[in-house]
Amino acid sequence: MTVLCLVEQADDGGVADVSLRALTFARALAESWMNQKTASDPSNGSFTDGGDQPTGADVAGGTGGVAAVVFGDAAAAEPRLSEYGAGDAYAVELTGYVPQAWARALAGLAAELPATAVVAAGTDHGSEVMAHLGAITGLPMVANCVSAARNAEGALDLVRHRWAGSLLEDAVLDATPALLTVAVDAVAAVPAAEPAATAVHAWRPELDDGDLLVRATESAERSAGVSLATARVVVGGGRGVGGPDGFGVLEELAGLLGGVVGVSRVVTSEGWRPHKQQVGQTGTRISPELYLACGISGAIQHMAGCLSSKHIVAINTDPDAPIISRADYAVIGDLKQVLPALVDAIRARSS
């Protein structure tokens, strides 16, 4: 029994935080498999037809449990893989991001082991590679799972996001291997109780020219300044800002608080601000210490992008706006009066 987990590397070669979450998810899935198997017929080792799946630690040289797949420097990732309980790591030598080739490598490895599930973080790369894997294998791929556990019938009980997490779907998946992406903002990264002695293997996928046709070339240029996705403070503006000229006071406040301005979808749809500032389901997901949402009603499309904020403070004229029931604190009033007074108060305090 092996759950394969696609691991994305951070810029320093370590494991990206989203992949630590995916590894945590994969470990929980592997444990549910083990528990379910001991609780029911121990010979029933397969999701679908029972019996013919190799059990436990005897699969293709792997130790069973969670096996990480790394496209790049497995040695740099190894300490974190060990901490998160990956008994094996498969290093695939492929230069750059080549989505179909990555999927081909996962497909080959999943067949070889064989894997009972393949898991990846629901990032742009993870979702894309897993979609290719679904297409290559002809199997269902379930996006943005929150939890997965093997049930008494040997299928998987899943909970997954719809509407970017504003709605949950309960579902049953009957397919082997199970192909799943993990809703990255819904699962916390938790190290294993016992670190694993991670065995690193090389894996050479069989690729044809078609697998290598689409390949990313990355520009070295990184956007300067604080990014919306990682900002500690976000000052949000919505329809209540009134127009493209109303954002000066939000910029000023964001500057004072060491943060950045984010906006709701209506603001970008009206062309008041560029789309890269949009917070929401179709924009950027933020997770600041403070989200100060000004003149934003709180449509679910917007809330899907900011619910990972530690504290939400709303400033809104309407005490019945949906955002009031999602925020921690609120000021009922017009941002055009509240924000200038707030800027003055903060300036007075620091001088």
């Binding site: 709605l167 309960d170 389901q281 403070v313």
Partner: protein, 295 residues
Amino acid sequence: MEIAVCVKRVPMVGGKIVVTADGQDVDTRMSGFTVSPHEECAVEEAVRLVERHGGSVTVLTLGPPAAADQLRDMLSLGASRAVLLETDGREWGPIATAEAIVAQVTGAATDPAASPDPALPGPAVCPDPALPDPAASPAPALSDPAASPEPALPYDLLLFGNEAADTGDYQVPVRVAHALGLPCVTGIKNLEVTDAGARAKREYRGTEEVFDIPLPAVVSVKEGINLPRYPSLPGRLRAKRATIETRAPQWRADGLTKTGLRVPAGESKRAEILGNGADAVPALVALLDELGILS
């Protein structure tokens, strides 16, 4: 160039999602419908490409009969042909959806009656005169059967949204690309048709990824690639009169069975009200201080 764009009818959910009493669907009795935001941008991108390079845009949807409304919305933005793959209202999974799309876009090639008909009422699409004559520009692979292993496909580009607003499955375009043997890029925020094919760009973790791909290809885009136009009055009138071609593909299960939908717990807390208007500023400053924001 000939472009097909796939769109999906989804409820306009506004401030709150309500689930039906049987727990199986989103309650849409009080909501309107729209297409997913990424897909509206895909249609806009297709219309812009055709305005530059000539050709026409076909919009395709799989959904209930009422999804014809969304097709007409897309026709009013500049698409010239619309195809409805009609369902009985059941949800289709991504595997079955991709199969139905593949059958439609390839079947259209073998059935002359279903191929893009220049006589259909469509917007007069004139390539920008400042640009090189599209007839003189490099021929898309399609016009040269020897250059394409899939000569049946009557499109140079299949455009999708990156993921549907409701189910967010992230995979229909990739599955369609594999079935047709076409290259595929997803999540694209900038698309240019070049002499060699297409150059597509997207953001990834603060950097820009660039993909150079030959055409025909499958591309999924994200909102922000453009700012969709408002429909013009002539566009609306044309859309109202347009014929919507309808097919009825066969539903099939694809391995994932929905057992129910629910709204996550903890949705209806109530914010602590700090005060009204500018009078609330001292309390707000005290709060920011307490949260460590001012230090």
